[in-house]
């Protein structure tokens, strides 16, 4: 008989590794940990079902993402991948804010260099910057409505993670 050595899955499950074993292409025997971890989180039969429902050319990617998710779940038994998603979404928000601030700053600098508002000769006891400060807000509003960071925020209109059902 002496065929090929069983894949990591069949080794773990202690069964014969058939020629058309669904796991064999993705779980070579030299990496037992890879299958062990997806088996631990999802279970072999669920993984098998998921792979069977996919066209062959997409199975490798599916296995990679399942391994990634399983690893994340083992590392963080409460949040799993969702922890990473949450963290990254925060980063995006922070960057959006920084971008808006930087764009507003450019506008401020440009205004200081070419004052569009003529500063009238009024006897104001305060500093000259008084008038400039009071005209700034409307320019800032203009800046934030045209900022390109809206591109990022639009794709996250889904916002909060548990606010709605994704599967209807």
């Amino acid at each position: 008989m002496g065929g090929n050595s069983p894949c990591a899955s069949c080794k773990l499950l202690r069964r014969r590794c058939a020629k058309d074993c669904i796991f064999a292409p993705f779980f070579p025997s030299d990496d037992p940990h890879k299958f062990a971890i997806v088996h631990k989180v999802f279970g072999a039969s669920n993984v098998s079902k998921m792979l069977q429902e996919l066209p062959v050319h997409q199975r490798a990617d599916a296995v990679s993402s399942l391994v990634y998710e399983a690893n994340a779940r083992v590392r963080d038994p409460v949040y799993g991948c969702v922890g990473a998603i949450s963290y990254l979404q925060n980063q995006v928000s922070q960057l959006q804010m920084q971008l808006a601030v930087a764009q507003a700053e450019i506008l401020c600098i440009q205004m200081q260099q070419e004052p569009a508002i003529p500063t009238p000769q009024i006897d104001v006891p305060d500093e000259k910057s008084f008038l400039l400060q009071h005209n700034l807000p409307q320019y800032l509003n203009y800046a934030s409505s045209t900022t390109s960071s809206n591109v990022i925020s639009d794709s996250f209109k889904r916002d909060s993670l548990f606010s709605h059902d994704m599967v209807s």
């Binding site: 989180v41 279970g43 669920n46 997409q58 990679s64 779940r73 998603i85 960071s149 059902d165 994704m166």
Partner: protein, 137 residues
């Protein structure tokens, strides 16, 4: 026990067609009014894996874990190839391009500031020159 058999079994026990004991691991997180929630996680993880994962956590963390498992299961059903890892990938790309944009804008600021101070300092130099000429008279 007739009562526990017929009164408000949790969604999990209903789905699995079994008795829902008072200390059922699923019932706090899979209420009977949301059968789809358990069906979803069951399809991806299976009942025994869910039960085991919840069992291994302290009670105060289980609700959060159940929500996350549900979220990930939904992602996997919606995107059978990448699941929620697809979203992580997209987020990384967005962070990268946002960082690029930010770097560009900050470089622009630095340039403007630099040009401005150079302009200022050359104006001061002109003024200086003028003043020293006046002093020479």
């Amino acid at each position: 026990d007739y009562l526990s058999m017929n009164s408000s079994r949790c969604a999990a026990c209903k789905y699995l067609r079994k008795r829902c004991p008072s200390e059922c691991i699923f019932s706090p997180y899979f209420p009977p009014n949301n059968p789809q929630r358990f069906a979803c996680v069951h399809r991806i993880y299976g009942a025994s894996n869910i039960g085991r994962m919840l069992q291994q956590l302290p009670v105060y963390l289980r609700a959060e874990a159940a929500d996350c498992l549900y979220y990930e299961a939904q992602c996997r059903i919606e995107n059978p190839v990448y699941g929620c890892v697809g979203m992580i990938s997209t987020l990384h790309q967005q962070i990268f391009s946002a960082q690029e944009q930010l770097a560009k804008v900050q470089a622009e600021i630095a340039l403007i500031n630099n040009a401005y101070t150079q302009q200022e300092s050359s104006q001061f130099q002109q003024l200086d020159g003028l003043l020293s000429n006046l002093n020479n008279f």
